[in-house]
């Protein structure tokens, strides 16, 4: 039965042959994209851009509907399981961010701002501050839009090497430099004496294993853990370097942008997906958190794989796009799967949330694709940008709220409910949906409401020890 209704479509269709060979490339592509996204301050824009833009988007969810009835049936049954598969990593990322914010003071200390947000918020009047933050948010979002368009252009003109290089540099920077800074700050906080040699060894191991897991093959759990860690690192950087009002404004604007970019016909994300689809290529599968390993393996053995895939492909034509897109995703992420897995992959269309490609793929797919063999094993995907922005919201709430833990908890619940609703909408509408708007809206509403309304109330109640 095809239960994929809840989630969606794997990335774009791709010929098996080209997939095999393109695997490595697009893989790199994706990875580099991802890295780029998760990247440092210098490339901060990349990040947002990637999220919104091309990469198998965090924001986009897609669903493939293979068999309507069965889909519907399984929607709620398996839907719950997939929702939890996303709740857990999102929760973990938020927990890491909040724990760091609460303990390591480095990330709440004001040490300057990014060049993308040049206007300071330490102004004399409230009006001036509001104006500055609006300008900052406008600059940031324009940078994001420009980078997104740049990505589309690069992709359109097949400048894969540029994109790959970019992504690799991003991930290197993130895995080595940012984690080095993080480790240093944690040691400072707990006053742990440490020598450079040990640190070098630790960071080297962490970084290299991270690069391997994320860009090549590795155990699923380790890969997931690395993705969560880099999302948390990125979120921490945002929390540190974005001033308060700017951060809230950026969160709001980026949800709107996400909505527009995914659902409008002329949105850059949509265009990216359509281009990839035309070329029958996979789009950047990097920058996606995947919860299961149903992918094909082995990018290393391109030829035998290609042949096998080629043969399989001809049989599973219809599913090809979906499986292939998924494949791409997977390929970078998981490895070492047997023929059996390939088969399953071919037969299945796993749920994927955030790929623009998936969206295009869905639209491109014929309505009666093959059903998957084992719906329960289908995984779920969510883009890393979603993780990052959810964590930024909760982290900022814990850093700056006067209600403190109440506000943090309220934002946390709001975001989880938003995610749940998004997945429900996904199951109902069965097309690509952005994952940011609902959660961020709920998060923002609950942040401001809890901080300004609930906190004084709870404060008074606690003072008198009244219970409601």
């Amino acid at each position: 039965m095809s239960e994929d209704s809840e989630e969606s479509v794997p990335l774009l269709p791709l010929q098996q042959e080209s997939m095999a060979s393109a695997l490595f490339n697009t893989d790199q592509n994706d990875n580099s994209e991802r890295r780029r996204h998760d990247h440092s301050e210098r490339r901060r824009n990349d990040h947002p851009e990637s999220e919104t833009n091309g990469q198998p988007q965090n924001n986009i969810q897609q669903v493939v509907e293979q068999d309507e009835e069965e889909d519907e049936e399984l929607t709620l049954k398996y839907g719950a399981k997939h929702v939890i598969m996303l709740f857990v990593p999102v929760t973990l990322c938020m927990v890491v961010v909040v724990a760091t914010i609460k303990s390591v003071s480095f990330y709440t200390r004001k040490d300057g701002q990014l060049i993308y947000t040049p206007f300071t918020e330490e102004t004399e009047t409230v009006g001036q501050r509001a104006l500055n933050s609006i300008l900052n948010a406008a600059i940031m979002i324009s940078v994001i839009i420009v980078m997104t368009i740049l990505l589309v252009v690069l992709y359109k003109y097949r400048c894969y090497k540029v994109i790959h290089g970019w992504l690799i540099i991003s991930s290197l920077l993130l895995l080595f430099f940012f984690s080095f800074i993080y480790l240093g700050e944690v040691f400072k906080t707990y006053n742990v004496a440490m020598d450079y040699i040990t640190v070098a060894l630790m960071i080297w191991n962490f970084g290299v294993v991270g690069m391997i897991c994320i860009h090549w093959k590795g155990p699923l759990r380790l890969q997931q853990a690395y993705l969560i860690m880099i999302s948390a690192l990125m979120a921490l950087v945002f929390i540190k370097y974005l001033p308060e009002w700017t951060a809230w404004l950026i969160l709001a604007v980026i949800s709107v942008y996400d909505l527009v970019a995914v659902l409008c016909p002329k949105g850059p994300l949509r265009m990216l997906v359509e281009t990839a689809q035309e070329r029958n290529e996979t789009l950047f599968p990097a920058l996606i958190y995947s919860s299961t390993m149903i992918w094909l393996v082995n990018m290393a053995e391109e030829d035998p794989e290609a042949q096998r895939k080629a043969s399989k492909n001809s049989t599973y034509d219809k599913q090809a796009p979906a499986s292939q897109t998924q494949n791409e995703d997977a390929e970078a992420d998981d490895g070492g799967f047997s023929q059996e897995w390939q088969q399953q992959r071919d037969n299945r269309i796993g749920p994927i949330e955030s790929t623009p490609e998936s969206r295009a793929a869905v639209q491109a797919l014929p309505s009666n694709s093959q059903t998957s063999e084992d719906p329960e094993e289908r995984g779920v995907k969510l883009g890393l940008g979603d993780f990052i922005f959810y964590s930024v919201l909760v982290g900022k709430a814990s850093a700056t709220a006067s209600g403190d833990w109440n506000t943090t908890l309220a934002c946390f619940v709001a975001i989880l409910i938003g995610l749940c609703l998004t997945l429900l909408l996904l199951a109902i509408f069965k097309k690509a949906l952005p994952a940011l708007p609902i959660s961020i809206t709920f998060g923002l509403v609950f942040y401001f409401a809890t901080d300004n309304l609930v906190q004084p109330f709870m404060d008074q109640l606690a003072f008198h020890q009244f219970y409601i």
Binding site: A80, G403, L453, I468
Partner: protein, 256 residues
């Protein structure tokens, strides 16, 4: 004030609830979602009631102590009523969800019953309510300070923890009672839940005279527990058999 106080109060307040979560809710994804949605509904009710309280406070004189306390009491009562209203709304939502689940299931039965949903919803409400009451206190307990140095009660943290625990249990039982009342159209059960909630919150006005708030709350909790147990199909025989089975260890335990 020390780690011991922090951990002690955390486990007193959240230990039982955490145990309930771990053993009955954590395995099933659908229940986790219902739990979080229940927490969300409680949160929304709190938001609305704080809004009303906030407006009332802003419209009044901040210097008048008695008025402020009166407004707070009004806020508490209003919040209780709103929480029960949202429990009713949540019941309606879960009813619709069950119909959906039944329609979509292969064998015509929903994977979760309304009674189980009632229990999970109650735990959701309770956990959120407890968390909001207790979490800031726990965070403060980790830091430096002396309890009651200005002449207030020294048992503040401890009694808060016990009160939170009893409230979490009460919310769980109220969830079961409330949903049962809604299912079978017994309005007096619903009214009883509302009255119990008002009583428990009202008894907290006696604080720091803890005997006036904790004792009635625990007694009400025992009563609600027994009532919920009976409504869920339990009986004296079941209980006896369960306890005897434990002792003899020979027969299988009765299902819960």
């Amino acid at each position: 004030m020390t780690l011991a106080v922090f951990f002690g109060c955390t486990f007193i307040a959240f230990g039982p609830a955490f145990g309930l979560f771990l053993f009955t809710i954590a395995r099933d994804p659908l229940r986790i979602i219902i739990l979080i949605a229940g927490a969300f509904f409680w949160l929304v009710s709190l938001l609305l009631s704080s809004l009303i309280w906030f407006i009332a406070v802003k419209a009044s004189d901040p210097q008048d102590e008695r008025l402020q306390k009166g407004l707070l009491i009004f806020g508490v009562m209003f919040s209780v009523l709103l929480q029960e209203a949202f429990r009713f709304l949540y019941y309606k939502l879960l009813r619709k969800a069950i119909e959906g689940l039944v329609a979509l299931s292969e064998d015509g039965c929903s994977p979760i019953s309304i009674q189980q949903m009632a229990y999970v919803a109650g735990v959701g409400f309770g956990l959120m309510s407890g968390a909001f009451s207790m979490i800031n206190l726990l965070a403060d307990a980790l830091g430096p300070g002396t309890v009651g140095i200005h002449g207030d009660s020294q048992l503040y943290f401890l009694t808060s923890a016990f009160m939170t625990m009893v409230l979490i249990f009460l919310h769980t039982f109220w969830g079961i009672l409330f949903f049962h009342g809604c299912e079978h159209r017994r309005w007096w059960e619903i009214a009883a839940v509302v009255v119990m909630h008002l009583t428990v919150s009202g008894s907290s006005f006696c604080n720091p005279l803890y005997v006036g708030s904790l004792v009635p709350s625990y007694m009400l909790m025992a009563a609600a527990a027994a009532w919920a147990y009976l409504l869920s199909g339990g009986s004296a025989q079941n209980l006896r058999r369960f306890l005897l089975c434990l002792r003899s260890g020979a027969s299988p335990q009765p299902g819960s």
